[in-house]
Amino acid sequence: MSALAAETVEMTPILAARGVGHAYGDFLACRDVSFDLYPGEVLGIVGESGSGKTTLLKCLSGHLEPTEGEVGFAVRDGEMRLLGEMGEPERRALARTDWAFVHQNPRDGLRMSVSAGANIGERLMANGHRHYGNIREAALEWLAKVEIDAERIDDLPRTFSGGMQQRLQIARNLVTGPRLVFMDEPTGGLDVSVQARLLDLLRGLVQRLGLSAIVVTHDLAVARLLSTRLMVMQGGRVIEAGLTDQVLEDPQAPYSQLLVSSVLQV
């Protein structure tokens, strides 16, 4: 394989997992997960409920300390730092700048007691932005990007529909220009029509902003639309990984074959 061809794809991963696992007491929720995520890649993690997807996502995003293995993240100067060796302040700083976490339930990712505009502005202020006019302008710009009417900027999120709340959560997360976005069932619990709109929006944003993302979903259609790569989990382990279309059209493991063949055709 020529060096020339190899040079054309990004050589340094933005996130690296090595033997990551987590046990709740005696119960190993996920184990032995290793992969590299490169800039611009969207990794889908699929599997049934209880397969360890969300636990893994929490370990990768610093929400949960892995009980085995380690997670590395390439900070802005390119150096790969182990999450486990970072102090709490540094991890918090990453969580509000380079990372974004989109929760399945928007109420977990929004502050329900402050306005839509403040929800977006808060992350900017946490990053040292002080100019009120600029913050409001950024909030308006992001409301437009996620297709929420500018007139709703001063309304509380609780007056929004579920789909709007989810879009507001995405705006709040992306306003600071993160490099890596974690998403936990981002379209779960939404109407199908709202799902399509949100997926199209997410897909467009990820493509335009060149983000890397890790998306946990049990919906293979969501995985197909958003992700470039897939990992299939069962019983806490990754049983298969590869290009999204390859895993979905030529699944190798018995469980992956079951998963793909169980999708209802419409």
């Binding site: 394989m1 020529s2 060096a3 020339l4 061809a5 190899a6 054309t8 794809v9 990004e10 490169y38 890649e41 399509a196 709109r197 997926l199 199209d200 897909r203 493509q207 639309l225 470039t228 790569r229 590869g242 290009l243 279309d245 390859q246 059209e249 030529d250 190798q252 493991a253 018995p254 074959q257 079951l258 063949s261």
Partner: protein, 236 residues
Amino acid sequence: MSVDANTPVLRVSGLTKTFCLHLQDEARIPVFDALGFTLNAGEAVALNGPSGVGKSSFLKLVYGTYLAAAGEIAVMHRGGWVDIANAEPRQVLDIRRETLGYVTQFLRVIPRVPTLDIVAEPLIERGESEEAARARARDLLNRLNIPETLWSLSPLTFSGGEQQRVNIARGFAASFPIMLLDEPTASLDAVNRQTVIDLIGEAVAAGSAVIGIFHSKADREQIASRAFELTPALAA
């Protein structure tokens, strides 16, 4: 682009593929055993063989959608050989962006994305300006007789024939050194069929190497300079 005949751009060797259906009594369906094939720059090859012999599977293996059990699928990519059968996902995606085009009769519709954007996307992904990409998209949609009133709509509600032509426009928007064609002319009317044949001819004239499945003998004769026959004996 200068075209060197007999310069290989795709080299398949020892390609072996068996489908193992774990859920259906572990049924094993052998498809290829140590298959070899070479495609040279600027040539058009018809992939022939009876139904079920594995013609589409062969193209999907080359595109990386199917996983080879053994063998090598070497693609000339950015001046060097890369083995698709053993490449990392991000390398395969880079190859698909720049080197390998794949056109089928079936459009994968993305909800809410307008037809014009679907056709322009492969060029934009390559870093082409939106203007140039859309100009090329408009030209192709015109040639394939998709009425302009439909361009701003998602093809979700289009007829099967219209979706097929949108997919062909998308497939030919960017030029690729290697093009894999899976029955792009199937079920088209005579006018649109000729347009697709012209598009293939233009791609080959511009230096693309083509391997394709063409149902009709007349199409094969117009497009291909040689044939690659898959036979059950050769395949399994």
